[in-house]
Symmetry: C2
Subunit: 530 residues, 2 copies
Amino acid sequence: MGSIYKKSLKLFMVAGLLLVFYFWRPWSCSGVDIQPRRADPIQTLLDGKTGKILGAYPDIPYHIKEEVASRLAQNTCVCLADEETFHVPFSDLLFPRVGANNLAHAFLQNNPHSEKIKNHRAQEYNSFQRRSYSPADVLIVAEANSPLQYPTQGVKVQPLRTIIIPGLGLKQKKRSEYMVYLNATLGTFDVAATVDKVSIKGLREKKMTLSSPQLTALNRQLQFVTYTSTVFHPRTADSIQFGTEGYKSFFTIKVEQKKIPKLYNSGYSDEYNITALVTIATKTFLRYNKLEDLIKSIRQYYPNVTIVIADDNEHPQRVTGPRIEHYIMPYGKGWFAGRNLAVSQVATKYVLWVDDDFIFTSNTKLEKMVDILERTTLDLVGGAVREVTGYTATYRHTLSVEEGGEDGDCLHIRRGYHHVIEGFPNCVVADGVINFFMARTHKMLEVGFDPRLSRSGHLEFFVDALGSLHIGSCDDVIINHASKIHLPWSKTGTEKAYDKFRYSKSNGGMKLVEEIFYFKNRFKCTTSPR
Amino acid sequence: MGSIYKKSLKLFMVAGLLLVFYFWRPWSCSGVDIQPRRADPIQTLLDGKTGKILGAYPDIPYHIKEEVASRLAQNTCVCLADEETFHVPFSDLLFPRVGANNLAHAFLQNNPHSEKIKNHRAQEYNSFQRRSYSPADVLIVAEANSPLQYPTQGVKVQPLRTIIIPGLGLKQKKRSEYMVYLNATLGTFDVAATVDKVSIKGLREKKMTLSSPQLTALNRQLQFVTYTSTVFHPRTADSIQFGTEGYKSFFTIKVEQKKIPKLYNSGYSDEYNITALVTIATKTFLRYNKLEDLIKSIRQYYPNVTIVIADDNEHPQRVTGPRIEHYIMPYGKGWFAGRNLAVSQVATKYVLWVDDDFIFTSNTKLEKMVDILERTTLDLVGGAVREVTGYTATYRHTLSVEEGGEDGDCLHIRRGYHHVIEGFPNCVVADGVINFFMARTHKMLEVGFDPRLSRSGHLEFFVDALGSLHIGSCDDVIINHASKIHLPWSKTGTEKAYDKFRYSKSNGGMKLVEEIFYFKNRFKCTTSPR
């Protein structure tokens, strides 16, 4: 009885202690500072060193090469329209001129709160920059004739995990003792194996020193140095200092979760299964008859493809049919909100955007669009829209951003494209295309359509897509545009209502675009073809 | 007359030639190969060099340090559940065990096409890897004792623009002639200024050589070397080789569009204007009475905040009120589709997600959530949900991915968190939180909710968010959960219908989650608390 009593007592004490630890968890009380990071001490050291390197040789003269120097970014883009250079008939057609819109002026004029808006924008931008800052973007220059060997790129660790740091080494002339040290901020050092004759100080700490009388032993030991990330962050970088007497080098270890893919199971036939790969998305308003024509024409060529319809009519009608998904929105919620909604519902790898007054024909070969998206790094490919007159448009545009300093940057919009695509002679690389395109669904949703743009908007999506989407345009995938040529007296009631709603000359739409470019995207100027 | 005639003729010839050039554009015919990139020749050179560096000192013995070596990724994660170690009362509560789900087995068993599915998944993953490949991720090791000075990080250029390459230099012992060369693949070299006594070959080409009898002159000239990106790509990198006789170094120039911000104009008051900053989003199905209770409770504390409601009822009722946006979806389209839809309509900086059976109370202080999102790098912060019993849940989880080789990786799901957040004692950093959270709208849409998850799903969003969202959880922002404690015979008709729909023991939901983890995210195993 006594021994059972003692055993039970011990068991309960152990259980009690375990309960205490279970709820108290002293080992997990370490706090983490997650304010947007400023430069840490290692960073400051690095900046000083780089500054010295870049400022050398001030006394040797040079001669500026104007045609190259003028192409360098000056951080001072100027908001200027093209001058009309000379007068010939059709000059605007032959030599399209470019207009300029000074956004601050357009958006802030006559606004009593203009100073506050400017300050708010500057604060938000400052926040954005601090949140986007990463030590992985900072300029580092490798010193010449340094005895240090170290990795300059490609070292990464998952948060709270451990890796071996590859490539560390010391190549010094003969001496009695060889020494190196390592410093970190967001992690600690250790070794995965030990080598005789090497002494190590600072194991499992942010600063570690290794020394040995034998250089080859030290170098062998350096092959087993590990870094453990100790501060959780899903995407950051640690600045590492690696030095010996008289020499310092800096490199970065990226701290990142492994990139988890989004793969689509679209079947395993040899040909492209459009039904499994593509969803067609559109938005409709006041044009149910045209929408029905579109659906009929789609079904002629792709009888089983899913069609997603966003609908913000005041009195929505039922749109039914196999594989048709109809979404009702608040009345007049608008164009970009509808586009964002439709794309948010797509479960296939690709989404094809069409307007509700397009008509599929035998030239509307979606397989061609899928083919270029499967075989290249394009994320989005536009086609061509043929008017009833036979005129076919691709609406190819290029977009570029020029730095403008504190007041914001300049956005330059031009017609045209960058390159033809090898292997696809009808296709080019551009930054903006027409409103008939196929895109990787999740990439399109990553960019998103700003739900505030209700009446009109097109290139605003491509501005948001800059740097995210690789965009192409093929002129051999053609869709027809239902005829817009109506004599005014022959338009139906709904057609007149549609025109009135969409094309009304309200200033509201223009002001909103200016706000979006001025505030959201922080431009001070846009230049575009007149 | 004759001179006017001649002038007109000249003018028309010029106009004619210009027309020809306008449509022909011989200068823009250069094609670009945009197939997913494999290693270019410079890359192959680099790999060979790095391999040699990493394989040195094979003869020096070492002793493995087990506790460190065991933490290194082996690429061979194993799908094992915890064994039950010893039996005590409440052992599962005190010592929660972890179960393992072998996804390939669960998803592919009894499937006649299992081989084809496996191959399709492997092909899609291969495509994904090739498309994600960037020379900016490749391991580069800087040689020791090299006379070359060069930038190892931080050099970037916008597509088709020109920059000065900072930090190039040569520090060699005295000799009669000093020489360096530069090689690129996606761009060309030039100089922004010239320096006497330096001769340059290969201006405006992919390989440039500079030489001089005077070292300081050569180094001064190197301060003006420019790189021009000539192949348009929105986000890539060029591997640059910089060498002299007997020495080569490698570095990367990133080719990227400037990151355009998405700033929100939320007014300029000193306090947080919740109406301008936050939109509340929810999805509703068969619980209009609970939805009305939710809306009433919101209006008590936030009378003007916009509420977005996604509704996939079979017979939708009208939900009206100021600043309420009601969206009708196809019947039963589902949970994640509804979440994606609601978030796609939000125009404010932050979105608050709530379930339609939550109730706001005086403890539901949205200002606290906004505060931590404004002041830290968090993208999403969860709160706490209080049941009618008083039990309050935060559902904090950690997620980690362990590499598993060719068959896929392992996903480990555990309860708990990573760190407490400094300055916010009630808040921690985690990877998954409860279904009551506030997030940066555009970051949430970047991740997205997979519209295929119709009945249930929660952590799947956080799995997709890994590496993208910085996630926190604060237990001092509390919302109430409408009572779920009903005796079975007192449930209303709609409550019974809801339970039947949502909690039906169909295998379909489970199979879908397995497919998503197995195929879409390419896991071979998940381990999670039983």
